[in-house]
């Protein structure tokens, strides 16, 4: 069941949007040690993508919430402080504040009776989730086309502004010039979003680095690849991008159970028209259902 409500966050009211599990969607076995926590026991908390990618992703996240509700799993998307419909201006937002917002949403779910809260991070939200995981243990993290390096994401944000130059509307800006402006004015407008310098700097420092004591039961890395049907040039599926392979390999070497899941689809977080990550939703729901089946069956 769809819900949307404001909740008092650390720095202002936050909009929580999501789907509650449908009543009776799954029978929890009486023998389960988790019995008694009610039908809302399993939730997925979303660490949202940043800036325009959030808007482009809402449709797919909403469809995911609907599909998860049917298997008895709830989904919560939190609009971080200064983003979406939450209180505050982006110019007043901080990276640490956003981590606190995630923590707030997590606590709220537990207070609502959630017995298990998994994380799903989308694109740049992966960097935020990774920082959050440094202080909290989570059973499972799903990453949707994660951004591996904040430095790269920062460069892409500056690029968005620079690309307008190519369209002939620019002021002859350079990335060095934009950085200098960010330093002097302490904020920079990028595609309609006013990024404060502190947030931008923190973002650029974030990365999907070593586990460093992060307690995580397992991780699914979803990589979306364009449709093979329309690709006469492509004879075989390409390997995962190099940065993804490096990151996954390092985590596996450190003992983390990582599964790379590759699905077909368009890059819904960036396409001009809103499109739906149908195969991504199906794969995510299937894997969550499988994991849930194993959990409910017990050892």
């Amino acid at each position: 069941m769809l819900f949307a409500q404001f909740v008092d966050g650390p720095a202002g009211r936050l909009l929580f949007v999501g789907h509650r599990p449908e009543p009776g969607a799954t029978q929890r076995p009486r023998a389960s040690g988790r019995a008694g926590k009610g039908p809302h026991a399993h939730w997925v908390l979303v660490a949202p993508p940043l800036a325009e990618e959030l808007n482009k992703s809402r449709r797919t996240l909403s469809l995911l919430g609907r599909a998860l509700a049917k298997i008895g799993v709830g989904l919560l998307v939190v609009d971080l402080f200064g983003t979406g419909d939450s209180e505050g201006e982006l110019r007043a937002a901080t990276w640490q504040g956003w981590v606190e917002d995630l923590a707030c949403a997590h606590r709220w779910l537990l207070a609502q009776g959630a017995g298990q809260v998994d994380l799903l991070a989308v694109r740049g939200g992966a960097l935020l989730a990774w920082d959050y995981l440094a202080r909290v243990a989570v059973d499972h993290l799903s990453l949707w086309q994660p951004v591996v390096s904040g430095r790269r994401l920062g460069a892409q944000l500056l690029r968005l502004r620079l690309a307008a130059n190519l369209m002939g509307r620019g002021e002859g800006e350079t990335s060095a010039g934009l950085r200098e402006r960010l330093r002097q004015e302490q904020w920079l407008e990028i595609a309609g979003y006013g990024f404060p310098a502190q947030l931008f700097a923190a973002l650029e420092e974030a990365e999907l680095g070593p586990l460093d004591g992060r307690r995580l039961g397992g991780l699914d890395w979803y990589q979306v690849e364009p449709d093979a049907q329309t690709n006469p040039d492509r004879e075989e599926a390409p390997a995962l991008p190099l940065p993804a392979r490096h990151t996954i390999g390092a985590w596996q070497d450190a003992g983390l159970a990582v599964e790379a899941v590759r699905v077909r689809g368009d890059a819904f977080w960036t396409t001009q028209e809103i499109c739906e990550g149908t195969a991504l939703i199906e794969a995510t729901v299937r894997r969550i259902a499988e994991r849930r089946g194993r959990t409910l069956a017990g050892p």
Binding site: E52, R152, A155, Q156, L158, R159, L160, L162, A163, A164, L166, M167, G168, T174, S175, A176, A191, P226, T230, N231, P232, D233, R234, P238, P241, L242, P243, D266, A267, T270, T271, Q272, E273, C275
Partner: protein, 82 residues
């Protein structure tokens, strides 16, 4: 890397579908492909970085880079060789 991979990348980044099949080196891009707005330029550059594992310095990019399929191919090729 060959020019087919650039065609492939443009098809994927701009969702051109079968329209991209006709792309050759001389096919004009910027100003000729309506899908190629500033957001899409970023998508293309980002996809180049992720797919080929290279880092593009934004100040290297000019309108000329996006003039044709061939100029974009030359740019990526030069980056890969660098």
């Amino acid at each position: 890397m060959n020019i087919q991979e650039i065609r492939q990348l443009l098809r994927d980044a701009l969702q051109l579908g079968e329209r991209a099949n006709a792309f050759v080196a001389a096919t004009p891009l910027l100003g000729s492909i309506p899908e190629l707005d500033s957001m899409a330029v970023v998508t293309v550059i980002t996809m180049i970085e992720e797919r080929f594992g290279i880092v593009v310095d934004d100040d290297e990019i000019s309108a000329e880079t996006f003039e044709t399929v061939g100029t974009l191919y030359d740019f990526v090729n030069a980056k890969l060789g660098a």
